[in-house]
Symmetry: C2
């Protein structure tokens, strides 16, 4: 057990250096995109909460001056879905680098260099589907948006507080499934407020269109830029 | 970028040492529980795929000679749910240790020491809700079981292959939601087989009871022990 404790300390020290380097690059990205009038949004959620569907529906409403950086461990499925809409999407696969469970700002930097900053008013990052690790790594966004689907349960903000605490907006997705057994939307909203009273909340169903106008309005307001 | 690469290599070296220490403890746990005739199952999934509900329904069918180690970043909500059923549940919160996104064998070891190995035929670990990181850490189980709910989408095995590759059984949960728009159960099964042809698959709905008999049969067979 003593061996483990020493390793844990070493791991923390390495992580702190990594995070510091990560934050410096993130700040540069944020400033550069602000200078170029590009509003940068980081979408985080569990696997399958509807990030790609949300982006698809957003493009339909907000137009094609949107570029997307897709984070996945494996596959280019999501980038292909978005390219079909006629927008530029760049896929980062972390699989070859140990299956990393989050995106880091250096990879986002490299993806922006590939995509170019011209021809866009909005940049979205679709982070790795994971409610834990992406919250620890600033990718340089002007706004962090957390998606939580109603099928995931009302207790998730209490169990995974950091992801909610670093987000300015929470989208409660898949509301077309309501009402659900053992689930209270009111309780979920209360739990979000418990861990982050400042977090705005919008209920959305990308399939039915519910809440999409309010979401597009948030994007147009560009808060945090 | 060069700085980052060096840090990345250091991180990998530290991780390799951590994993080696982790695996040694996991092997000890596996052997000890085998000697005591306790079948140890590690449940992994995204947040909200139904791990706790599955354990509740399993206790109702298999009896109370089950103990559970609950992994969560924060809260003791899940352990409290299980204690209501009259079984022993031990909660590990990784929040105080940097919000770790997975359980390690040393923590499972400590939890087993707290729970004691008497009075049980089965030990369950409910890992942190995360489809990425828990797959990298052997906790000493005789069987890894992956839960994926139908609402998460059919593409998940392709995007998060490691979790499926280290599992002997995949439970497709929440089948009471079927049929679903843009979802094919057949396609999901194909995708699981693509990344792990040896993985057994059972469709379950803990609420409706579908597939629960087959799941209990698997537990009784104690494959991997």
């Amino acid at each position: 057990m003593r061996y483990k404790s020493v390793m844990k300390l070493k791991k923390i020290a390495v992580m702190q250096k990594l995070l510091k380097a990560n934050d410096a690059i993130a700040d540069e990205i944020r400033q550069e995109l602000q200078d170029k009038n590009v509003f940068f949004v980081n979408l985080m959620s569990s696997p399958g909460s509807g990030k790609t569907t949300l982006v698809e529906e957003t493009v339909r409403r907000l137009g094609k001056r949107i570029k997307v950086i897709e984070g996945d461990i494996q596959t280019t499925l999501d980038a292909e879905r978005l390219q079909k809409l006629g927008i530029q999407a760049f896929q980062i696969n972390t699989g070859p680098f140990g299956g990393d469970c989050h995106l880091e700002s250096a990879w986002v930097r490299a993806a922006i260099d590939e995509l170019g900053t011209g021809g866009m008013d909005y940049l979205f990052v679709e982070n790795i589907g994971n409610l834990v690790c992406p919250a620890e790594f600033d990718v340089g966004a002007h706004m962090n948006v957390l998606l939580l689907s109603v099928t995931e349960g009302e207790d998730k903000p209490l169990k995974y507080p950091l992801a909610f605490q670093v987000s300015q907006l929470c989208l409660i997705t898949k509301t077309d499934f309501l009402p659900l057994k053992n689930f209270s939307l009111e309780k979920l909203r209360e739990n979000i407020k418990k861990v982050n009273p400042a977090c705005a909340v919008i209920d959305v169903s990308a399939h039915e269109g519910t809440g999409m106008d309010r979401w597009v309005e948030v994007l147009k307001n560009r808060q945090g830029m």
